[in-house]
């Protein structure tokens, strides 16, 4: 009946059998399956390949086109790298969650309608939270709950939007939409939450550093890039995205400079990188959309690489805090080199992947005359070098000597980082194969004299600024601390406000209640006083009173039956 298995189902199938497979084979399965999925996606023909009836709706489970394909491929690659990095993990919960999570993300990418998208959207939410809970501490449990509330909330808003959209248009197809009605705004909002739009972003910085060593690597790839894909598919050319994206590139870099937990620094820079992609979607020209997709591809790889290198440090030392680390290059030189490669890629050094992808978005913004946006993106590019490119390797591996002499990362982690590094450099040196996968024809040459020199100027002078600030002591030192962000409103303010309101309401309620009980008690006491055994009334009650009352009752009955 069905001549094609949806790629997502491969992952779900593997997730079902994984718990029953012997431990060593399970790791093999986890690594091999994404490769298989990648091959399947590579060879899929384009078109609507599989329809399924669902309560009178026709669901499109496999819409294959260039945009879906490249995201499917890079998600498979990310799943492969993440699972290879997690080769040592023997925790079934994490392994199954990783499979379900990757499967859901890939399923969502190939979803041709909003209902299918919704199912996979919630799938990513539910599967991924286990990567946070797998840390198995109280803090991780609470963080996971916060994460889940936001993610599930995004899905609920999506299905509400989809229902309204169906009522409006009579279609559930997931195509490019125009903002205007409540339906499209709800869908937009739902995508925006997952994409970590400003003020809706904090679940990301809250949750990712709370996941396990390997969980964070896997988390970093899927959820937010799925949202980028959904926005590119649904809202390409929506102008408001340009401004949202520009703000996204801007504010996280300030936080990244003062943040101590290096995995949270990376989460902030992830947010900043998403901003570039969102700007590209907002501009919506072929060049810009190519830029967004290419940048998402490159970003998934270098971000995973950076999270892997910091994760390896955490794995060996027990901490990822800048204030506790330093000088690790002595004993973890390979991890350090891989970290530097990731850092160079995110900073868009020539010959590294960011250089050939980010520039598409910057060029598109200048071409379409968004000069202020271009200036902001340029600032953000310099800023990202500052906090991700320099800060991460510097504070982890150099800076002051922490005295820690951890062993080099285990071989499987090094291999995973090595493969990710290879892709980062390969894309940077020879971008044509990536460009060929993009949704539109690419007529862009990254390596012009002007581009290389101006980019080197931007980066080297940023490095110069870092050097000068470091030497003059102006650069803020890494301190054990947390920084308030928008999550303060629901983690600190809201509980206290609720507690305050609860106190006031409780006081009023208790006041009314005690007033009423007091009254009731007084009445009872009064009655007891007059009618109780010692009461005045009781003392005068004749025994025959009962007889009188019975005759009164009988009399009343007689009258009633007489007139009735």
């Amino acid at each position: 009946m069905v001549d094609i298995i949806p790629t997502a189902f491969l992952f779900f199938l593997a997730a079902m059998v994984a718990p029953f497979v012997p431990v060593v084979l399970r790791s093999v399965l986890l690594v091999a399956l994404p490769i298989l999925a990648g091959f399947q996606i590579w060879y899929l023909p384009e078109g609507m390949l599989l329809q399924v009836g669902f309560f009178g709706f026709e669901l499109e489970l496999m819409r294959v086109d260039p945009m879906a394909r490249i995201f499917g491929l890079v998600f498979s690659l990310a799943a492969f790298l993440g699972n290879l990095y997690a080769w040592h993990v023997r925790d079934t919960v994490q392994q199954v969650a990783a499979l379900l999570y990757a499967g859901s993300a890939i399923g969502a990418v190939f979803a041709g309608d909003l209902i299918t998208l919704f199912f996979y959207w919630e799938g990513t939410a539910i599967a991924s939270v286990f990567l946070i809970w797998a840390r198995r501490t109280e803090g991780a449990y609470h963080t996971g709950i916060r994460y889940l509330v936001v993610q599930i909330g995004s899905g609920v808003i999506l299905i509400a939007g989809a229902a309204l959209f169906y009522r409006e248009t009579g279609s559930i197809a997931f195509e490019n939409m125009t903002l205007g009605s409540l339906a499209t705004w709800l869908i937009f909002l739902s995508f925006g939450i997952k994409c970590a739009f400003p003020l809706m972003h904090n679940w990301l910085q809250d949750a990712y550093p709370a996941a396990t060593v390997t969980g964070t690597v896997i988390l970093s790839a899927f959820t937010t890039k799925l949202a980028v894909y959904a926005l590119a598919r649904g809202f390409a050319g929506t102008e408001i995205l340009i401004y949202i994206g520009a703000i996204m590139t801007l504010f996280p870099i300030f936080y990244a400079v003062i943040e101590n937990d290096l995995r949270r620094v990376l989460a902030y820079s992830l947010n900043n990188q998403l901003g570039f992609m969102v700007v590209g979607i907002g501009i919506g020209t072929e060049l810009a959309l190519n830029g967004t997709v290419a940048h998402a591809f490159a970003h998934i790889l270098y971000k995973a690489l950076l999270f892997m290198s910091v994760g390896a440090v955490l794995f060996r030392t027990g901490t990822a805090k800048g204030s506790e680390l330093g000088g690790l290059y002595r004993t973890m030189p390979l991890t350090m080199i891989f970290c530097v490669i990731g850092a160079a890629s995110i900073s868009a050094f020539p010959l590294f992947s960011g250089f050939v992808t980010k520039s598409l978005i910057l060029s598109a913004s200048a071409k379409e005359h968004y000069y202020y946006i271009w200036a902001i993106l340029l600032f953000a590019s310099a800023g990202v070098f500052h906090h991700s490119g320099i800060k991460i390797p510097y504070f982890a591996f150099f800076a002051h000597d922490s005295g820690l002499r951890p062993k080099e990362a285990p071989p499987h982690m090094l291999i995973a980082m090595g493969i990710a590094s290879f892709f980062c450099i390969a894309v940077g040196v020879y971008p044509q194969p990536l460009y060929a996968l993009l949704p539109y024809e690419v007529e862009y040459i990254s390596y012009t004299t002007t581009h290389v020199i101006t980019q080197m100027q931007l980066l080297m002078f940023s490095a110069l600024a870092f050097t000068v600030l470091m030497r003059t002591g102006i650069y803020p030192p890494e301190l054990r601390s947390v920084n308030l962000d928008s999550d303060w409103s629901y983690r600190w303010l809201l509980p206290r406000m609720i507690r305050k309101i609860a106190t006031v309401v409780a006081a009023i309620w208790n006041g009314i209640l005690s007033f009423l009980t007091q009254r009731l008690k007084n009445i009872i006491a009064g009655l007891y006083h007059s009618h109780g055994p010692e009461g005045r009334m009781a003392s005068t009650w004749p025994t025959g009173a009962m007889v009188i009352w019975i005759s009164v009752l009988l009399g009343a009955t007689l009258i009633v039956s007489f007139f009735g």
């Binding site: 060593v213 060996r316 002595r330 004993t331 002007t450 101006t454 100027q457």
Partner: protein
Amino acid sequence: MSKHETDPAKLPALGRMFLWTGNKSSVDRLVYGIYGVCALLFLADFFYEKHVYLAIEEVPGFYALYGFFMCAALVVCARFMRIFLKRDEDYYAPYDVESEDYPEDQLDKATHDG
């Protein structure tokens, strides 16, 4: 450096190759190197034909100055923000992982010499 001296012979070969980064005079040389590279890059702007979209990009050294001053401003602003935003690590405890230790059983802590 003396506080945590380790016998270099025991370090991995690759790690030994980077030991110079702990040496003050080498770091100074590196910093002068950065100054030199920056100066060259700045001067490079006068020796090739720029192909750009925007008028402001034509200004010699625009990218260099923009990168330097914006980054400096970024750090100064961030440092200023810290005055308002910084809290103790256990600010959100126990509902946060920040003040917790990472569970030991999920780690493989090991030192390089065994």
